[in-house]
């Protein structure tokens, strides 16, 4: 599934159309709610009530079921995030190699806490328990890029790459 977050901004109509097509292609398959929500979050950046209602209607399933899944997984967001999402890995390997320090430095630099978004909507911070790149620990992920062997010093330059 392609993520569309880096493409140029689509109109709402185009976004819904894209989502609708994906749902239509997969109609009737078992267990495809999560892929649909995944794509929807890719398109819209987050999953507001309207998008959840849309998914429920198009998939012909109850809204309560969609919202149950959305609120269960921390991956899914119901509030808008920054243009770039920084995920700090707090898995065991990263943690012992100083992930906590990196997180604190990041929070200092951006002036926000976990789950928050900078005022200019540029960055959001979230954390995860292992990104599966333990060999590169400590690791942060910005959007879909993995940055390994992180140090507090390297942070500033890396953030500059993301406008």
């Amino acid at each position: 599934m392609e993520c569309l977050c880096n493409e140029k901004e689509l109109t709402d109509e185009q976004k819904y159309k894209q989502l609708k097509e994906f749902i239509k292609e997969n109609q009737g398959k078992r267990g495809y709610l999560i892929p649909v929500l995944h794509l929807a979050q890719g398109i819209f950046g987050y999953l507001p009530r309207e998008v959840q209602n849309f998914v429920a209607k198009e998939m012909d399933i109850p809204v309560s079921m969609v919202t149950g899944v959305v609120t269960f997984y921390s991956y899914f967001r119901t509030f808008p995030t920054g243009r770039h999402t920084i995920t700090v890995c707090l898995g065991t390997a990263c943690y012992v190699r100083g992930a906590k320090k990196i997180l604190e430095e990041l929070e200092d630099q951006l002036g926000i806490k976990i789950g928050e978004t900078t005022e200019d909507r540029r960055f959001s911070i979230r954390v995860q328990r292992c990104l599966g790149s333990c060999g590169l620990a400590p690791v942060i992920m910005i959007d879909k890029d993995i940055h390994g062997r992180m140090t507090a010093k390297k942070l500033g330059a890396i953030l500059e790459e993301y406008k």
């Binding site: 109850p62 309560s64 079921m65 969609v66 919202t67 149950g68 609120t71």
Partner: protein
């Protein structure tokens, strides 16, 4: 399944292998506490960990609700280890459960509280956390206090698996987990249909009956089991009474028809009982104004007037309308009053307006006009053909059986309905016929069945007659011809026909979408034809099942509140029957059939009916072409109405008598599956009101006829003697689930399904039925088809539901349902006012734009006096049953600027 030997708390037990420990313990009379499991409903999630038991040889404790027994297993349900485990679970739950038992509505009826008491838990050793979630009081009936929720999942199970509304689900996770409605909104704004099933199963005080708050603790209530007085399902429940007041309704798991299931009206729609505007004393109209009167005055006046009219113009200038809202005993007495005292067979009731075509049609074809099967058999059918019944809204509990059949038992559902009703979601096939073309559609289906050789030849040969003539007619209705008439694609007709004919059992369910036409009897004959053609009648789980609308419309018909029958469908024209009743009642009787509802009003309009007694009916709202009907009531020289409220009809009366609600009298009512069940007196009649059976007796005495019973049970004894199908109905036999007629003698167990081995009339008769158009079709001036029905939250003319605070709050005003395309052409949007006009009248109401209505079809319910749909409907009658055509007339719709 094999039997195994188990030991449970030192008791030896032989039990089926695979039974859960929890159920085994129940059989052994041992109570294992649970918070989540409801084994009787098949809900065993094993999640609350309260039902943990010790199994010898197992290192861990086992959740008894999911752990199956096996040979030789030794179980301890109340050992020290289990006690400790339960204690821990409880303490964890109590870390964030509000400890406000003193003011909690659930106090005394709370599983958590009981457990804490049993285990001696005063506080949690894990400390107290803060769990403060906002109270959700948005719904008019249900308060959700999620701070008290223990996340057992019962409400979600009820909502999704039994009720299948899918309003509730578990949301979030970890310590933030909570039950959400829709997208975590307030209950009022979710899919919730306010059935309150969730309240019935909540083990704690998280879900509470809003209107019973502060009105009593559980131990203060006395509970009286009775039968619901709304629709024909015949659900049982308990009235909870404190100090002479009905406070609330609670489920009674012993109910045969419904178990713990109830709909919004049954559970929450009884607050009308104690309304202040209940009629309190008899009223006599003097110079156009009602004045309070004594019963004596009222009886004297009625007696004088009826006697005078009878003397001057003869018995047939009097008439009586009985009531499908009153008991069997009252219907019997009123028809006796009409026939024996007034001397006329002019007695009828609102069944004329809903299912008279069923009674007429099925009587001709089978010999008996009632649902052939039982409600419980619906879920066992392999296919269901549902037509002209919006079951979800009109018979909510029967709809649950249909949903169960489809989703749990794999039945195929075919819906034939012009409206996109809720059950279409469950259907394999939806046939959207043009309103009023049912005969053509049925003939089309049967044409396919015959041409493809799918008919049940053996059944036809052995059990029916009239087949050849019928076949010749049907053969002309090819799917292509029928597609042109009905608008249903020929391919779909073929598919539906194949499903109908090839499924092992196909239950046909219909309601007023079939009966309320000028071709109503023809439609009903078609249902009988297709059932006989496919051998789907006279057997378990399959048959022809008309759903009756009112709580006792079946009983009112059974007890002879009809112009052509005495009780038990014994003909008034039959001399031996007449002689039997004449002898029993000690008077001469008429052998002339009387007039039907609409005919009575027409005769009143013309001055031929001078005196009319109406018991608890509201023709000034329910009859077609209301302007005409109301004028007829106004012209009636002497009109007596008994009711509990000042209905639209009572307003036109000369004398109004205060009757009582179902909570204030004893009696029986008969539900749609022919089940005779008790209603029980719960409170004393309010103010100066009296039960209708007593009113009739006292009036009869005043008119010089000896009619004296101490209790309705004595009336039923008389009914049983004179009515073969009720011959074995006695009050002492009705306490345990009632009895289904025919029940000819005191030892007969009642009849689950009809026409086994032999039809009531001997052989089943096929009728060749030709398609005829509705009496009034759209034209240039009136381009829309207008069709009427009910909505979930209201009942009939709204006399009681509009006086129920919550029901009226949730559905406060009439809506005109219009298809989006039509709305666009009319340039109206949702919520805008329109005027709907027919040749007979016009009304104003707000628009609801919905796909439910097909293009060119406008739907309205008939509950609202401020926009009475029946001002528009057509009083054209079915020639056989005299049912009016409520389902089709022509209207125009205009936006009001």
């Amino acid at each position: 399944m094999a039997l195994v030997h188990i030991t449970i708390d030192n008791q030896k037990l032989e039990i089926e292998e695979g039974t859960t420990i929890l159920e085994a313990a129940q059989k052994a009379g041992i109570k294992i506490p649970t918070l989540c499991a409801m084994p009787e409903l098949g809900f065993k999630p094993g999640s609350c960990r309260v039902c943990m038991v010790e199994v010898e040889g197992l290192p861990n404790l086992a959740a008894s609700c999911v752990y199956p027994v096996r040979e030789g297993i030794v179980i301890h349900t109340h050992s020290e280890r289990t006690r400790q485990a339960r204690k821990v679970v409880l303490e964890l739950l109590l870390t964030d459960h509000p400890l406000d038992c003193m003011t909690c509505e659930k106090n005394g009826d709370c599983t958590l509280q009981d457990l804490a008491y049993e285990l001696g838990v005063k506080e949690s050793r894990f400390g107290r956390g803060e769990k403060k979630l906002p109270l959700d009081e948005s719904n008019p009936f249900i308060v959700r206090d999620l701070s008290k929720c223990v996340l057992c999942g019962r409400c979600v199970e009820m909502c999704n698996e039994i009720q299948q509304t899918y309003a509730l689900n578990v949301g979030y996770r970890g310590s933030k987990t909570k039950i959400i409605a829709d997208g975590d909104s307030d209950l009022r704004y979710s899919e919730c249909v306010s059935c309150g099933q969730c309240i019935a199963v909540c083990p704690v005080g998280a879900l509470i009956d809003k209107n019973a708050q502060g009105k009593g603790r559980t131990w203060e209530f006395s509970r009286v089991k009775t039968t619901c007085n709304y629709c024909g399902c015949g659900c049982n429940f308990d009235f909870n009474v404190k100090e002479g007041k009905v406070v609330k309704v609670t489920s009674n798991p012993q109910s045969v028809v419904n178990g713990i299931n109830l709909c919004v009206k049954g559970r929450f729609g009884y607050d009308y009982i104690h309304r202040e505007d209940r009629l309190a004393t008899p009223l006599i109209k003097k110079k156009g104004k009602f004045e309070e009167a004594s019963w004596e005055e009222a009886y004297q006046l009625i007696s004088d007037k009826f006697t005078q009219i009878k003397r001057e113009s003869g018995s047939d200038s009097l008439a009586v309308l009985s009531s499908a809202k009153c008991t069997n005993e009252e219907n019997y007495l009123l028809m006796k009053f009409s026939r024996a005292i007034l001397g006329t067979n002019n007695v009828d009731h609102c069944a004329r307006l809903c299912h008279s075509s069923t009674v007429a049609g099925l009587a001709q074809a089978f010999g008996s006009g009632a649902m052939t099967n039982s409600i419980k058999e619906i879920a066992e059918a392999s296919a269901i053909y549902l037509t002209g019944s919006n079951t979800t809204e009109n018979h909510p509990i029967i709809a649950l059986e249909i949903k169960k059949a489809v989703t749990k038992k794999g039945a195929k559902l075919i819906v034939a309905d012009p409206r996109e009703i809720e059950l279409v979601k469950y259907a394999t096939l939806w046939l959207r016929q043009r309103p009023g073309t049912d005969v053509a559609l049925f003939n089309g289906l049967m044409n396919v069945i015959i041409t493809e050789g799918l008919e049940d030849k053996e059944f036809i040969a052995q059990r029916t007659e009239g087949y050849e003539e019928f076949k010749n007619t049907v053969l002309r209705y090819t799917p292509e011809v029928v597609e042109k008439i009905t608008g249903v694609p020929a391919e779909d007709i073929k598919k539906a026909a194949r499903i109908y004919a090839t499924a092992p059992t196909t239950s046909l369910i219909y309601s007023m979408g079939i009966t309320q036409h000028t071709t109503g009897t023809d439609n009903v004959l078609c249902t009988a034809n297709i059932a006989m053609l496919t051998g789907n009648v006279g057997k378990e789980n399959t048959g022809v099942n008309p759903l009756r609308g009112q709580s006792n419309v079946q009983g009112a018909c059974d007890l002879g509140a009809l112009p052509n029958f005495y009780s038990g469908y014994q003909k008034v024209t039959d001399t031996s029957v007449k002689d039997k009743f004449s002898k029993a009642w000690g008077v001469d009787l008429s052998d002339q059939e009387g007039l039907t509802v609409v005919e009575i009003l027409n005769a009143a309009y013309e001055g031929k009916i001078r005196g009319l007694f109406i018991m608890a009916e509201n023709p000034a709202m329910s009859d077609p072409d209301l302007n005409h009907a109301r004028e007829a009531l106004k012209r009636t020289e002497f009109l007596v109405v008994s009711d509990i409220f000042m209905s639209e009809t009572a307003e036109l009366a000369d004398v109004v008598l205060p009757g009582v609600t179902v909570a204030e009298k004893d009696g029986t009512i008969t539900n749609t599956e022919r089940r005779v069940q008790r209603v029980r007196k719960t409170i004393e009649p309010l103010a100066d009101s009296k039960p209708e059976w007593q009113i009739i007796c006292e009036l009869a005495q005043k008119m010089g006829y000896k009619m004296n019973y101490n209790h309705p049970g004595e009336i039923m004894e008389e009914i049983a003697q004179l009515t073969p199908i009720y011959g074995g109905i006695h009050y002492n036999r009705l306490d345990d689930g009632g009895l289904q007629w025919p029940c000819p003698d005191a030892h007969h167990p009642g009849t689950k399904y009809l026409h086994k081995d032999k039809f009531s009339r001997g052989k089943g008769k096929f009728f060749a039925v030709e398609y005829k158009e509705a009496a009034e079709l759209p034209d240039e001036e009136y381009p829309f088809i207008f069709t009427t029905g009910r909505v979930l939250y209201h009942f009939h003319t709204g006399t009681i539901t509009r006086r129920s605070k919550g029901l009226n709050e949730i559905y406060p005003e009439p809506l005109v349902e219009i298809n989006p395309q039509d709305a666009e052409e009319l340039k109206v949007k949702e919520g805008e006012l329109v005027e709907v006009a027919s040749r007979r009248g016009k009304i104003r109401a707000k628009v609801q734009v919905t796909e439910k209505s097909g293009k060119g079809v406008v739907f309205m319910s008939f509950h609202f006096r401020e926009a009475a749909a029946n001002l528009l409907t057509n009083a054209a009658l079915d020639p056989v049953s005299k049912i009016p055509e409520y389902k089709v007339c022509a209207v125009k719709v205009q936006k009001i600027a």
